[in-house]
């Protein structure tokens, strides 16, 4: 039997995973309809009017379908493995050159402009990275636990990520963090994910609560891990919990002692900042010093015990703990010096450190109002008052989910999320079923990218994440994004189909 592509094997109908194709089609139609809803009032024309965004999106959709057909029927799936390195190198070249040749859009240099057509290489760098990862990691004898293999893998991911950060597109770079889930599937230790999670938690705790709380949390978690691993859970329950509780109340207790022992006029003088007043000893002793001193004394004992038992885990845990303490002390530095102004503001607003309803918080506030006012069933298509009359910024691109939330309500927005879950689930299932490591790894990469975009984008519109400007796959307005994700998905469908054809 021969098919259109000239390959031997089973036919189109039975080899393509139609559920993925239909899912894709439904999503781009949802996107198109909602892009029209978000622009129709300021621009009341037909959905096909090519001067409006909905008309342009229609063009992107048609071309995206062309790309999909090209990938399915013209490009032989076999070539991806062989061409992955050249593609990767080419894309890295594009990423670098866009910094110098691209145009500046909202403070970042990440777009090429060819006349009216704009193109963002970051959208295809995800594909290139995924392909190279799949190629490299599917080689025989690859072991993620081996240092050399791990470092090269990390390099493949970090290189485009860093260039994108240089383009001031931190949001797009954040997506690459999602590859960690693929690495986990391929054997990376779960502790790495755990430690990254801990680092983020410590960072947030340091900024919102205090370094004291952050370090206490760190010690609690580290000691729990050590005790669990070395089979001393009881120790932790009977010694750890009381000690940690005691330390949790230490600042409060110290404050009481100060109130009771230091003369009120000295306190007043100190709070007013009068010079020449000697600070009483009790006020020089900060709870943090006590905690660190206590930890410093007990660490050598733990290390010695671990050495006797040849317990490397405890050593690693102790090193992690010290690294964590250093992170806490450098959090302020990272926050105030490393992060850019707008990023810092977004995090401050998200963490509730600053009330800012008209500035950075305005976008999120308006977005949540739009979605929240949708209620259970929404206001009906084209009837949203918030998205129609421009209260939500960027509503056809990054904030397209607001239109869905407002006009289709909880039912509609939950359905869209479930559609994504279905898509990602299906990709993972297909990836697992595939017999080739290349297809499996590539599939996981696709799933990770879509997942990161989904979670960050929707999380941003409902106030769970800071404002990070990345599109909602297949739904947000924009040619680059639609083409990029379509190509990414259909390469997987093609790879998948290629396998099914012969087995």
């Amino acid at each position: 039997m021969r098919d259109a592509g000239g390959h031997r094997g089973r036919g189109l109908v039975r080899t393509i995973d139609w559920s993925l194709v239909i899912c894709w089609l439904v999503m781009i139609l949802i996107g198109w309809a909602n892009i029209y809803a978000s622009v129709h009032s300021s621009d009341p024309s037909s959905i096909f009017d090519f001067s409006s965004r909905s008309g342009k999106q229609f063009v992107w959709m048609i071309t995206a379908m062309g790309i999909a057909l090209l990938i399915l029927f013209v490009i032989p799936p076999r070539i991806y493995e062989g061409f992955s390195l050249p593609i990767y190198v080419l894309v890295i070249g594009l990423l670098v050159s866009v910094i110098f040749l691209g145009i500046e859009v909202k403070g970042s240099r990440s777009w090429f402009a060819f006349g009216p057509i704009r193109f963002q290489p970051a959208e295809i760098s995800k594909i290139a990275t995924s392909l190279l990862l799949a190629t490299y990691m599917s080689q025989l004898g690859y072991r993620i636990g081996r240092m050399k293999d791990f470092l090269i893998t990390a390099m493949i991911i970090l290189l485009p990520m860093m260039i994108i950060v240089l383009q001031s597109e931190t949001g797009s770079a954040l997506v690459y963090v999602g590859f960690i889930f693929m690495l986990y599937r391929e054997g990376l230790s779960g502790w790495l994910i755990f430690m990254i999670g801990m680092a983020i938690l410590l960072f947030i705790l340091t900024l919102t609560a205090s370094p004291y709380i952050a370090i206490l949390t760190l010690i609690a978690v580290a000691s729990l891990c050590i005790c669990l691993y070395s089979g001393r859970a009881r120790w932790w329950i009977f010694i750890g919990i009381p000690l940690i509780t005691l330390f949790a109340f230490l600042p409060e207790i110290m404050e009481r002692i100060i109130q009771a022992t230091v003369a009120p006029d000295v306190l007043d003088a100190l709070s007013e900042g009068t010079e020449g007043v000697e600070v009483p000893f009790i006020m020089k002793v900060k709870p943090l010093y006590i905690l660190l001193g206590f930890t410093g004394i007990s660490l050598p004992f733990a290390a010695f015990q671990a050495f006797r038992e040849r317990n490397t885990f405890t050593h690693l845990a102790i090193i992690s703990l010290i690294a964590g303490v250093m992170l806490v002390f450098s959090a302020d530095f990272i926050f105030n010096v490393v992060l850019q102004d707008h990023q810092r503001k977004r995090i401050e607003v998200l963490l509730g450190m600053k009330e800012d309803p008209s500035g950075v918080g305005y976008n999120v506030r308006q977005s949540m109002i739009a979605i929240g006012s949708g209620g259970a069933f929404g206001k009906g298509y084209l009837n949203g008052t918030q998205t129609t009359y421009g209260f939500v910024p960027e509503q056809s691109t990054d904030f397209i989910f607001c239109t869905i939330g407002e006009e289709w309500g909880f039912m509609g927005s939950a359905a869209v999320i479930l559609l994504y879950v279905f898509l990602i689930w299906k990709i993972i299932k297909n990836a697992e079923k595939s017999r080739e490591a290349f297809t499996r790894i590539y599939g996981y990469c696709v799933a990770c990218c879509i997942f990161m975009h989904l979670f960050i984008n929707i999380g941003m519109t409902i106030g769970l994440m800071p404002v990070i400007g990345i599109p909602l796959p297949f739904i947000s307005y924009g040619g680059s994004s639609l083409w990029g994700f379509t190509a990414m998905l259909f390469i997987f469908i093609a790879l998948n189909r290629n396998e099914r054809k012969y087995f």
Binding site: G372, G374, F410, V421, F451
Partner: protein, 613 residues
């Protein structure tokens, strides 16, 4: 299911999706505040103000109507280059005024956005017409019609009251009913019947965009609410008579109140000086001027001023004396220019002596009432003078004195009638006797009563012993009045005693000049006016001129009280004014014989006599 890494990742995926959906559930379904915020964002309630109810007089004449005025609205965002000088000329303002306003809008452009703001309030029709002709040259400017009050009769600002924008304290007192920018009746009839007159506001719900530009009607106007116009009300006022009373009291300080005795309906209520109706429609502009006027035109003397009633009060004491049996129609008392007690004397004027009861009223003898009051307070029936005094007060109160009558006119005050407790406080317990308080007999001393009280006394006598609470709103189809205004209030004096007093009042007016009757000047042929003069002593200047009268004697149609501050004798101003009002009401015109008197009253100017602080 095995807990391999694939499944762990799938569980993670579902957890993440669950977190998103849970958050969606919380903001879309659990939390209502976002829906409110969305409405605040996008909905503009443009208020439709109802037209205020019309105030009619008892004969169907419009006392207070509505007319259209125009506010000049500007939408600064829509304003293009325009000829400032021309606009200033058309509007009758200075070009600087327009410059300043425009600069102000520019400064606040963020806050204003696409909204319209009022540039000039209440332009008269003529100016608006001129503007409308050239409006096409001023894009962004437009006139907005709004209904304001119109006053066909000069019926007196204090009676009608004014309507003005509610202020912060008013909003605090009526938290749910009014919003800033609303108008409300603040005084007079406007305030008394605010609830009926104001109507119900309506609104159009409009949708606006994020720049405050109005985009469309919400839900095609289905949720809009029509304004319900205020109800028209009918007052008891006779517009013509009120106008005439207003003219008579012109350039005098005091009050003129007329009541229809058979119903208690107030026909006329003048407080002079008052707020000119010309100023009433636009009270805001004149408020400063009015409130700093030394003659206090805002002070409604008719219901608020606690005046000493003077000799008019002898009628009350006489009636109580008859009831208590300390005097009868046949009782004669002598008077030699006054009443002597100990070394003191309460003076009287020259008249024949001794006098009968009727003659004492006719000639207004002071001594006669000193005897009566002394007999009342020293009556053996009562254990002590204190008890007798309190009994006396009880009688006086039954005529409505010393308390708010309970009329529907706002801001009525109660005046004051002293009792034993009061005198105990002033003189000490047992430190006073009948002669100490003897001036009560002739309506002096501590007594304070309003012109409305006096008019009500007159109506009570006209009715031979009862009164209806004076009121200003008539029962009409839409507006029901409190049933208490239809109840007869009897005094503690038997109705049989009233004709005896009326006899004296009749003779006071109709005995002719030279007879000794104090109110001959009030006589009108054929009207059988019964009256009583009063001259309230005023330590600060000229005495106050007081007069009450009703007519005709049988089946009275009108009871009048006139109080002219610093007017001298009751017969000098109060009696002519009250009788002219009575004549006008009953005859519709002033007889040829009395034209000169009318002329004199209309022209009299007593303002110089009034001491202002």
């Amino acid at each position: 299911m095995k807990l391999n890494r694939e499944n762990k990742l799938l569980i993670g995926l579902c957890t993440a999706a669950a977190i998103l959906i849970a958050k969606l559930f919380s903001i879309q379904i659990l939390d209502e505040t976002y829906k409110l915020d969305a409405n605040n964002n996008s909905m503009v309630y443009s208020t439709i103000y109802p037209t205020r109810g019309i105030i009619n007089d008892r004969n169907g004449n419009i006392l207070v109507g509505n007319k259209v005025a125009y506010d000049l609205m500007v939408t600064p965002k829509e304003v293009e280059e325009f000829d400032t000088t021309l606009l200033a000329k058309v509007l009758g303002v200075s070009p600087e005024f327009i410059h300043e306003k425009m600069q102000d809008y520019h400064k606040n452009r963020k806050r204003i956005g696409w909204q319209s703001v009022v540039m000039i309030k209440q332009m008269p029709q003529e100016i608006y017409m001129k503007f409308a002709e050239t409006a096409y040259r001023f894009p962004g400017f437009r006139g907005q019609a709004r209904s304001i009050r119109e006053y066909p009769f000069n019926a007196g600002g204090n009676l009608l009251g004014y309507v003005s924008e509610v202020d912060a304290s008013y909003l605090k007192r009526h938290p749910d009913e009014y919003k800033s920018g609303d108008y409300a009746g603040k005084t007079g009839i406007e305030a008394a019947r605010e609830k009926e007159l104001r109507g119900e506001k309506g609104y159009n719900i409009m949708l606006r965009d994020s720049r405050n530009k109005i985009m469309s009607r919400y839900n095609n106007g289905e949720e809009d609410k029509e304004a319900i116009p205020g109800k028209d009300i009918t007052t008891t006022i006779d517009a013509g008579l009120q106008h005439y009373g207003q003219m008579l009291m012109n350039n005098k300080v005091g009050s003129l109140v007329a009541i229809e005795p058979s119903t208690g309906e107030i026909l006329t209520m003048v407080s002079s000086p008052g707020i000119d109706v010309e100023m009433l429609a636009d009270i805001g502009r004149h408020y400063g001027e009015i409130s700093t006027d030394p003659y206090k035109p805002m002070f409604n003397r008719a219901v608020q001023a606690p005046y000493p009633p003077g000799s008019v009060f002898k009628l009350v004491n006489g009636l109580i004396g008859l009831q208590e049996g300390v005097v009868s129609t046949n009782t004669h008392y002598p008077c030699s220019m006054g009443y002597k007690f100990g070394k003191n004397k309460l003076g009287c004027h020259a008249h024949k002596s001794p006098l009968s009861f009727e003659e004492s009223i006719m000639m207004s003898c002071n001594a006669y009432y000193c005897y009566i009051l002394r007999d009342l307070l020293e009556n053996k029936k009562y254990a002590s003078i204190a008890e007798a005094t309190d009994k006396w007060k009880e009688y006086v109160q039954s005529f409505g004195f010393g308390q708010k009558l309970g009329s529907d006119f706002p801001s009525e005050l109660g005046g004051f009638i002293p009792d034993s407790k009061y005198y105990n406080k002033v003189y000490g317990k047992g430190g006073w006797k009948a002669t100490t308080v003897i001036s009560l007999s002739i309506g002096q001393g501590e007594i304070g009563c309003t012109p409305l009280h006096l008019a009500n006394l007159c109506a009570t006598i006209a009715n031979r012993g009862f009164y209806y609470i004076p009121h200003i709103i008539k029962d009409s189809e839409h507006v029901a009045i409190d049933p208490k205004y239809k109840e007869k209030h009897y005094t503690m004096v038997d109705t049989t005693h009233f004709p005896k007093v009326i006899g004296g009042m009749y003779r006071a007016v109709n005995s002719g000049f030279g007879s000794g009757g104090t109110a001959s000047i009030a006589a009108v042929e054929g009207l059988d006016i019964c009256g009583k003069t009063g001259t309230a002593q005023n330590p600060h200047g000229h005495d106050h001129s007081v007069f009450i009268c009703f007519a005709p004697k049988d089946n009275p149609k009108i009871a009048v009280a006139a109080y002219v501050e610093n007017g001298g004798f009751g017969a000098s101003y109060a009696a002519p004014i009250a009788s002219l009002l009575t004549e006008m009401y009953l005859n519709g015109e002033i007889s040829q014989k009395r034209k000169s008197l009318e002329q004199r009253m209309l022209e009299a100017d007593l303002m110089d006599r009034v001491k202002v602080r």
